[in-house]
């Protein structure tokens, strides 16, 4: 997740990573990780990196930080498909979950 300062708004973080904020701490699925203090309007990126096991890179001259995905056991922690949301090639928003009820072959390709 790209940041322009070493902190992030909880809603943006939740939208990108799926971690939500509860009184118990940062939660995803059944797992909750306690945080040192209740979340305010901003969360410190270094704190999130440490608590959730995410790499945090900085390119300070460019004013950019990047929080990577947390270190997990397996890439898929559940067989439930993540709700992929991407624009289609005409720029229209698309959510994978809109295809519930059909079988889906998700196919990654590239022009290169």
């Amino acid at each position: 997740m790209i940041l322009t300062e070493p902190r992030v708004r909880p809603a943006d973080f939740t939208a990108r990573t799926g971690w939500r904020f509860e009184p118990e701490g940062a939660c995803r699925g059944d797992l909750c990780v306690p945080l040192p203090e209740p979340p305010g309007p901003w969360l410190d990126a270094g704190m999130l990196a440490e608590r959730l096991g995410m790499p945090l890179l900085s390119e300070e001259a460019a004013g950019v930080w990047c929080l990577g995905p947390e270190v997990l056991g397996r890439v898929l922690q559940t067989a439930e498909a993540p709700d992929l949301r991407l624009p289609d090639w005409r720029g229209e928003a698309f959510a994978l979950s809109s295809l519930r009820g059909q079988k889906v072959l998700l196919l990654a390709w590239a022009s290169w």
């Binding site: 997740m1 790209i2 096991g53 995410m54 790499p55 945090l56 890179l57 390119e59 001259a61 460019a62 950019v64 990047c66 929080l67 990577g68 995905p69 947390e70 270190v71 997990l72 056991g73 397996r74 890439v75 898929l76 922690q77 559940t78 067989a79 439930e80 498909a81 993540p82 992929l84 991407l86 624009p87 289609d88 090639w89 720029g91 698309f94 994978l96 979950s97 295809l99 519930r100 009820g101 059909q102 079988k103 889906v104 072959l105 998700l106 196919l107 990654a108 390709w109 590239a110 022009s111 290169w112």
Partner: protein
Amino acid sequence: MWQELREELHPKGLEVVTVALDLKGVETAGRWIEAASPRHPSLIDREHRVDELFGIVNVPSGVWIDESGTIVRPAEPAFPKRAAFRDAPLPADLDPYLAEVLREARKIRVEPEKYVAALADWVEHGAGSRYALAPDEVMRRSGERGGDRSRAAAHFELAQHLWRDGREAEAVPHFREARRLQPDNWTYKRQAWVLVSRFQAPSDVMEGDWLSDVRAIGAENYYPRLDM
């Protein structure tokens, strides 16, 4: 490439969703999609989100998702048919480097017949298909996400962001680091190489190149054998 198969299997309950991994987005992927005029959703993934979410490391890769939104096969090589270039003679006036690349690419194992037959079986039999895997097996096969893989994802995301922002010199070390940390992620490497060389040839900017990296592992190991 998938249009024909999609039209055949769509009436039986399958939808195809293609995702183009491309830092330059529709600028480079668009003309391919337009030419195919697909009737299925054709998405643009400028940030390689599916790499992170589904563990995709090479293209083309397919993931099967059932009616309830459960993955029944995680990412694996997915070819609908044998690419025409594999059998056609190479034009005599072809760029010599490209000819070498294509000769190497022909040694890569692809298994379209097996894949398409399995897909059709699943579409017909659903959970009863022997190709539909149980959740534990799906998770097991999805691969490990240890520290290196996680850091590779962060370096790659940062590299793409900087590159898009015109900060190419700052981006390059992060592309290199992503390759070092996760050398088997071809989507990271190829995306980086193609930014500086159309044929993903050696450059003094990026480390490695398609031909050398493929030869280093052996073309037969470019895709894992289908486990089905």
